[in-house]
């Protein structure tokens, strides 16, 4: 599904290398967690995958379902089935949820050769998917994320994920700023959306989220590289001991 080889990425304006030879392979239906200390490059990875401007790939490759991901624009990637749940969802005053989702869903469906949804079917789909994350269906009249609480914004990301039916979803610190109840709702939504043809990359700073979204593989990202991979028990070990022991073990210079 996703194969990243020797990825080197700099921030264009700063000429500073953030990712320094990252390798990652995610198979269909798998859930991979990426953990790491602040500044290790987690969000940069999410941004580069989604096609955000401002990053320069200096070396390496990313293949997504057989395509060269780096050759695709951000919107093409989304239509091909890649989804990013934002760490900080953007408020769009004046853009209603229903118009936004209508345009997004129809762009994606058209690209995938599916018929356009009738107004009735679209509303039905919205209602069904909103229920997954306990979002009030009345939100369709509201502007995207405007006036949404922190929890609503994160649930809205998972709602959009459900609407767009991607092959690969990247959750960028979806747990940040959530209380335990909201966290559970978001995780339940994600678990319902898990399937044999949908993969997840779950980026998180804390182990807490992984109690609810149980990953197949846990990777530890330090200084722009994956230095250790293991099963879900690795996350627990990180929670208990922090990240320093990994730096010692992998003989990386402490930064």
């Amino acid at each position: 599904m996703l194969e990243i080889k020797n990825l080197h990425v700099s921030i264009e304006e700063e000429q500073k290398e953030i990712l320094r030879g990252l390798d990652l392979k995610v198979g269909p239906g798998e859930v991979h967690a990426i953990m790491g200390p602040n500044g290790s490059g987690k969000s940069t990875l999410a941004s580069v995958l989604a096609g955000r401007d401002g990053y320069e790939v200096t070396e390496g490759s990313i293949s997504f379902d057989g395509d060269d991901l780096l050759e695709l624009e951000a919107d093409e990637r989304a239509r091909e089935g890649l989804f990013l749940a934002f760490q900080y969802p953007v408020e769009l005053p004046g853009v209603s949820m229903s118009n936004f989702l209508k345009q997004a869903v129809s762009s994606v469906r058209e690209h995938r050769g599916l018929d356009a949804l009738s107004a009735g079917d679209f509303l039905k789909l919205m209602k069904e998917k909103a229920a997954l994350v306990h979002l009030d269906p009345a939100l369709k009249a509201r502007a995207v994320n405007e006036g949404f609480s922190g929890g609503e914004k994160k649930r809205n990301e998972i709602f959009q994920l459900a609407m767009l039916d991607p092959k690969l979803a990247i959750l960028d610190e979806t747990d940040s700023g959530l209380d335990i109840d909201a966290l559970r709702i978001v995780a339940d939504g994600v678990n319902t959306l898990r399937s044999s043809d949908r993969s997840f990359v779950v980026i998180t700073h804390y182990q807490r989220l992984l109690d609810y979204i149980v990953p197949d593989v846990v990777h530890v990202l330090v200084d722009g590289k994956i230095v250790l991979s293991g099963d879900k028990s690795l996350a627990l070990k990180l929670e208990e001991h922090g990240y320093d022991w990994i730096r010692d073990e992998s003989a990386l210079p402490a930064s």
Binding site: D75, P93, G94, S107, V108, L164
Partner: protein
């Protein structure tokens, strides 16, 4: 500089200033010196041309016109034109429910006018002058400070007639008065005039449309005076869509009585040069004034919104929102002044101007001015100018929406803020469609 007939005559034709030419034109048509008996109308015209001659056309050094050198556009149109082109208007505002009127260069057409409800009268200024001259005298030119506005002075001096609308005390007009403005003045200067009086406890909605006219340059310098009586209410929408060769100076002067409410939505979607001079004088307590504006400047258009809210009395409220989208090599200007005089305690005055610049060669000048002499007031202003929000654009694209469609969505959302404030549903829907079309290209 004072202009007299003598000095005008002594200067050779080709060296005369534009002002001198205008004064000479006035003299030829109406005479600069009083001749025997004359009514207030003629006297007020002379006052106006004198005020104009004193002040003159604004230059680059005139602060109020620093970014808008109107005279550059005016040059081509100064000769009072006799050339008329016969045109018909494709008028999209025909279907709006309301009392429809058509004008050509400010003169009312359609003498088989719609049947009006009792208490609403619509006619010409000259008709009013014949039937009730003293009533007209009470209002005409009273809302204009001639010395402050040379264009209003010029229009007041030259307009031979104009539209007169009166709503009598206690009358609530059920449907909007829809005015379709045409111009047939190609290569010349048209100076339409309008006077609206909404008496005590009455209400009126007015929709003005300046649709696109076939190619040809025109310069329309209009002056509109509005008097809102005590506890009266008026809602005004103006949509300007002339072609890129058109110039428009839009002088609106609003005088408000106690507890009155006035709202204008001034929407500028066309024109080569547009200067909206919007002046509000809430001249008694408990007035409410709402000024909203939206403009889209494309090509080499120059669109300037110049507003003044002059809070003279206590306990009034004003709210101002202007938004602009400037693309290609167009220019947008916003100069909004809120003046709170010493007596105007407990004034609440808010102003916001926001603009988006889409091209490197496009320009925006924004100058909000708050001038406050009272000490117990709530006032605020904010002005932002920027490009389209990259983060918002990325968010839309990350959901599969192509870049072009995403840009359009954001621009429409930006403009929607102002269009949403238009009360007339048909006009609102029309504007959504027009903006969609304008912003997609």
């Amino acid at each position: 500089m004072t202009m007299t007939t003598d000095s005008v005559q002594s200067v050779p034709e080709e060296q005369k200033t534009d002002e001198a030419l205008m004064v000479q034109e006035f003299d030829a048509r109406y005479g600069l010196m009083p001749s025997g008996e004359e009514d207030f109308w003629t006297a007020s015209r002379r006052t106006a041309i004198k005020a104009f001659a004193e002040v003159g056309f604004p230059s680059r050094r005139t602060e109020a016109y620093k970014y808008t050198p109107v005279t550059k556009w005016l040059k081509n149109n100064l000769a009072s034109s006799t050339e008329k082109s016969a045109t018909s208007l494709a008028d999209t505002f025909n279907d709006i429910d309301g009392y429809h009127y058509r004008t050509t260069d400010g003169q009312l057409l359609d003498r088989d006018a719609p049947k009006l409800p009792e208490g609403l009268s619509i006619g010409t200024l000259q008709e009013m002058r014949s039937s009730d001259s003293s009533f007209l005298e009470t209002y005409l030119s009273r809302a204009i400070v001639l010395e402050r506005d040379p264009f209003a002075a010029l229009a007041s001096a030259f307009a031979d007639d104009g539209i007169f609308i009166r709503v009598e005390k206690g009358i609530h007009v059920d449907q909007p008065v829809v005015i379709h403005h045409n111009t047939l003045t190609v290569g010349g200067l048209a100076q339409p005039r309008m006077l609206i009086i909404v008496e005590e406890d009455a209400s009126l909605n007015v929709v003005e449309h300046f649709p696109e006219v076939p190619a040809g340059s025109s310069f329309e310098n209009r002056v509109a005076e509005v008097f809102i009586g005590e506890k009266a209410k008026m809602d005004h929408v103006l949509v300007f869509e002339r072609n890129e060769h058109s110039s428009f100076v839009n002088g609106l002067f609003v005088h408000q009585g106690a507890e009155s409410n006035f709202k204008t939505d001034t929407i500028t979607l066309g024109g080569g040069l547009v200067r909206n001079n919007l002046n509000f004088l809430p001249d008694a307590e408990e007035c409410e004034t709402h000024l909203n504006g939206l403009y889209v400047a494309r090509g080499s258009a120059h669109i300037d919104n110049h507003t003044l809210v002059d809070h003279a009395k206590p306990n009034c409220f004003s709210n101002e929102l202007f938004k602009g989208i400037v693309t290609d090599s167009a220019t947008g200007v916003f100069n909004g002044k809120v003046l709170v005089r010493q007596d105007a305690q407990k004034t609440n005055a808010y102003q916001s101007s926001k603009s988006i610049v889409l091209d490197r060669s496009a320009q925006i000048y924004a100058k909000p001015e708050l001038e406050i002499y009272a000490d117990d007031v709530k006032c605020s202003h904010g002005a932002t100018t920027g490009e389209l929000d990259e983060e918002a654009l990325f968010y839309l694209r990350s959901r599969g929406i192509p870049e072009k469609a995403a840009r359009l969505m954001l621009l429409e959302a930006f403009a929607r803020d102002v269009v949403d404030l238009v009360d007339n549903e048909a006009v609102k829907q029309y504007l959504y469609e027009r903006l969609h079309h304008l912003l997609s290209s």
